[in-house]
Each structure stands twice: as structure tokens, then as C-alpha cells.
């Protein structure tokens, strides 16, 4: 395996090769496509995953989402984002680019 980088504020999450995000006309939602699976994403999950391109760090993603979640502080939002990303990692959908 290329990188098993840890998940922290400086990690750069990226969908694993062969995992793809697409818009679902029927539901209007984003779906994450993977072998034998299609995960329908709610709006906030979609906002996070759209930014998992390997370019942005967790901190940068959380910062970009601040305007959607006005009730949360940046550290609180980072924790929530990481919690969500951890679940995707455990399901083999996401990987972390090594910190640059």
C-alpha cells in the first residue's frame, strides 16, 4: 500500500482510485460509487467529499465549510470532519496523501 498516512488536521484526504462521486438525477443527491455499493450522501457529507481531492488538508476543508456550519468552531468542525473521514477510511473508500 502506498500511503498509510495518519489522519490529522494536516492530512490531505483523497478518494481511492476506482471510487467515484456522481450526481444522482433521481434523488438529486450526490452518490459515492464503489464496488457493489452506492452510498447516498446527505448535503454535508457531499460538501466534505467533494473536497477530498488530495489537494486540501482537513483543516482547509473544515475552514471552507465554516460558512455552512456557523454554529461550530473550527476545532469542533475539524473533529466532525475527521470522524466522518475515518469512517470512509475504514470502509476503504478514502486514502490520505502524505503530508507535503
Amino acid at each position: 500500500m502506498a500511503s498509510i498516512a495518519p489522519l490529522n488536521q494536516a492530512s490531505r484526504p483523497r478518494l481511492r482510485p476506482g471510487i467515484r462521486l456522481r450526481h444522482d438525477r433521481s434523488s438529486g443527491q450526490l452518490v459515492l460509487l464503489a464496488p457493489e455499493r452506492g452510498l447516498a450522501l446527505n448535503a454535508s457529507a457531499g460538501e466534505i467529499i467533494q473536497r477530498c481531492t488530495g489537494e486540501l488538508t482537513v483543516e482547509e476543508i473544515a475552514t471552507e465549510l465554516m460558512h455552512i456550519h456557523r454554529d461550530l468552531s473550527l476545532p469542533e468542525l475539524e473533529v466532525q470532519v475527521m470522524h466522518f473521514l475515518r469512517r470512509l477510511m475504514d470502509r476503504g473508500l478514502l486514502t490520505m496523501e502524505m503530508t507535503r
Binding site: M1, I4, R16, P17, G18, I19, R20, R22, D24, R25, S26, V31, L33, A34, P35, E36, G38, M89, D90, R91, G92
Partner: protein
């Protein structure tokens, strides 16, 4: 709780031809009554129409889909339509160059079967030794950035070698390992006495699978599918009849599940003669067992009927002769005795597999 049926996955059986001759093949046991094979153009329309109906995934399978000459064109079309593109394969015949072409065309996930950890045993199970080829294909798939699933069909002939099989599969660093016990339909039903594992063998396999799940967490997903015969409650076969899957056969019939062709008395529509949407919504075979309204007792009053939909129709038909019966795999079925008996009626070890699909001849072979 019941959600409206929605086509999510198109299963495109491109050909029944296959280099392997597994004794549990899911293809029909009688291949003589086939109609004319679908053309590339027919398949493209099926792909377009399935996507328009809401499908998100396509599985190119068979037989062996690599024996279908137009595969790369169909892969490209499916990807153009944004379908997630899966290839379910024995890995042969395939060169690295062709796999690269398929990846270039849009293939995303390769599901590769492995029968046994040794050459001799592979021949015994599949009638041909493709083990070296499969190992190469797995490595190519990784190099090309494809999602890789190693699919291992478990039965009495290989369940005792699961440790070796897992070690082999893990070494390939796949994204998923699927340990799927044989379900006893079609060919597998004919060979049931020879393939059926004992409860002890199954328990030991389950423990090995659980250990592998723990060991490989975050790297490789390990799935373990029980055989219905040891499950006590039926599977929601295909997620429920006509709920989210459509199978299209090499000769153009639309089926609610792979094995449905074995059910006599059902009429399956030809995708060349009817729009896919009409078949999905109103086709008589799709409507026949959709939902739960048709259920007899004990399903009708069962709180789990929305979860398991009464189990597998093909199994009910094969074991009771009545397609509407509760799946005998359910311990509440009045026919459950046939399941209990089958667990005990295992052929002596070492007896040869006598029933096997014949070497394939297929019109699609080019």
C-alpha cells in the same frame, strides 16, 4: 419501511461461454434453448436505457465476459453514461495490454475469482488451471489503479484450505475479499451432495474470515456470505425480487435474478422487443413477486417479510415445486425439512464431480 423499487444495478451477461467449468456455475443447466445473441448495438441501448431508469452500476459478467469481443466498446459506453463499471471475470483470456485498454475505456472494478490455492485443486474445481494467469491479472489490476475484489466461492472442496486461500488473496493486496459460500441453485443444486460443507467446516471458515476482517481492517474489506442452508432465515435474494437488479442474458431476456430462467411458467421479455422501462415497471416476471403482497403464510404475518421478502423464489421452486412458497431455507417454512436433510446427505469424500457444464461453444466467440 418498504422503499419503492428502483433499478440500481444492471447485470449484463454478455455470453454463457467460459474457459472454466465450475460445478456450481450460476448459468442455466440447459443451454440448448437459447435465442439469438444480442449485438453490440442492442447492448448499448440496454446500457443507455438502464441508466435512464436510474441505474448507477453495471456488472459485465457471463460466462466469461472477456470472451465477448465488443467488451471495451460496452465498457466505454457505460462509463460515458457515468455508470460504475464492474467486470466479473475468471481472468482469462486476458493480456496486460487488453486490461489496460479496458481500464482506459473506463473499467473501474475487477472482480476476479480464485478457486483454490493449488494448481491441482484448481483443475479439480474449475476443470482448468488458470491460477498463474489469475495472479498476474490481479497484479496488473493493481498497477492500473483498478479496484480489485478477489472472489472465492467456498464449498466442501476448498473450505479446508481457506487459510492458504486467504494468504494467497491477501498477498495480492486487493481492496476486497469476498468469501461467498455456494448457494444451491442450478448446477450447484445438481452437485449439492458433493459441495455441501459440514457445520463444523463452516464454523471454522467463519472464524478464519472474522480473523481476516480484523487483521486487514482499513486495507482490505473481507466479506463472508453464509450458505442459505445453514442460515435459518432466508436471504433477501437480489435485495428482493425486482427491487433493484435486472439481469440481461446473452440472448436478450430480462430477468429479475440470474437463476430465474429455471423457473417454468414465468414469461421473460426480450429487450429487443420491449423498452427496458416497460419491462422493469410492468413486465409480468418482474411484477409476479415484487414486494410482499403475494406472500402466503408463514411470510404473510411474519415481521421480517419486508427484510427478506420471503427469500429466494428460485430456491422455493427448485425445492418445493411451488414458486410462491416460503423459501425452505427459512426454519419457519413447512418444507424446511428438505434443507435439514440436505445438510446431512453429503456424498462420500473423494467421489468425483459428475455433473459439470460442458466445455463452452458460443456464437459470440470471435
Amino acid at each position: 419501511m418498504t422503499t419503492a423499487p428502483r433499478l440500481l444495478t444492471l447485470i449484463a451477461e454478455l455470453t454463457y461461454a467460459c474457459p472454466q467449468r465450475c460445478a456450481y456455475c450460476s448459468n442455466p443447466t440447459h443451454l440448448t434453448r437459447q435465442g439469438r445473441a444480442l449485438s453490440d448495438e442492442d447492448w448499448m441501448r440496454v446500457i443507455d436505457d438502464a441508466e435512464a431508469l436510474g441505474a448507477l452500476q453495471v456488472h459485465f459478467t457471463g460466462g466469461e465476459p472477456l470472451l465477448y469481443g465488443g467488451l471495451a466498446r460496452l465498457v466505454a459506453r457505460a462509463r460515458e453514461r457515468e455508470l460504475y463499471v464492474n467486470l466479473v471475470t475468471s481472468g482469462s483470456p486476458l493480456s496486460r495490454r487488453r486490461l489496460a485498454e479496458l481500464a482506459q475505456a473506463g473499467l473501474e472494478h475487477l472482480q476476479l475469482s480464485i478457486q483454490a490455492p493449488s494448481h491441482d485443486k484448481s483443475i479439480e474445481i474449475a476443470g482448468v488451471d488458470l491460477l498463474q494467469q489469475k495472479l498476474k491479472v490481479a497484479a496488473w489490476a493493481k498497477e492500473l489503479g483498478l479496484q480489485l475484489t478477489i472472489n472465492i466461492v467456498l464449498h466442501r472442496e476448498n473450505v479446508g484450505e481457506l487459510s492458504e486461500l486467504l494468504a494467497l488473496a491477501e498477498g495480492l493486496e486487493p481492496h476486497r475479499i469476498e468469501l461467498a459460500n455456494v448457494q444451491y441453485l442450478g448446477w450447484a443444486l445438481s452437485n449439492r451432495a458433493r459441495l455441501m460443507p459440514s457445520r463444523e467446516e463452516l464454523e471454522s471458515a467463519r472464524r478464519l474470515a472474522a480473523a481476516a476482517q480484523e487483521r486487514l481492517k482499513g486495507r482490505t474489506d473481507v466479506l463472508f456470505v453464509l450458505p442459505d442452508y445453514y442460515a435459518e432465515r432466508p436471504r433477501a435474494c437480489m435485495g428482493g425480487w425486482a427491487q433493484s437488479y435486472m439481469v440481461v442474458t446473452p440472448d436478450g431476456l430480462a430477468l429479475p435474478c440470474h437463476a430465474a430462467r429455471a423457473i417454468t411458467g414465468l414469461h421473460f421479455d426480450d429487450v429487443r422487443r420491449h423498452p427496458l422501462a416497460a419491462i422493469w415497471r410492468e413486465g409480468s416476471a418482474f411484477q409476479e413477486f415484487r414486494g410482499t403482497d403475494w406472500h402466503p403464510e408463514p411470510c404473510r404475518s411474519c415481521p421480517e417479510r419486508h427484510k427478506d421478502f420471503g427469500g429466494c423464489r428460485c430456491q422455493a421452486f427448485a425445492l418445493t415445486g411451488d414458486t410462491r412458497a416460503t423459501d425452505p431455507a427459512c426454519s419457519l417454512s413447512p418444507h424446511h425439512g428438505v434443507i435439514r436433510e440436505a445438510r446431512g446427505a453429503r456424498a462420500p469424500r473423494g467421489e468425483l464431480l459428475t455433473l459439470r457444464r460442458a466445455p463452452s461453444v458460443d456464437r459470440n466467440l470471435q
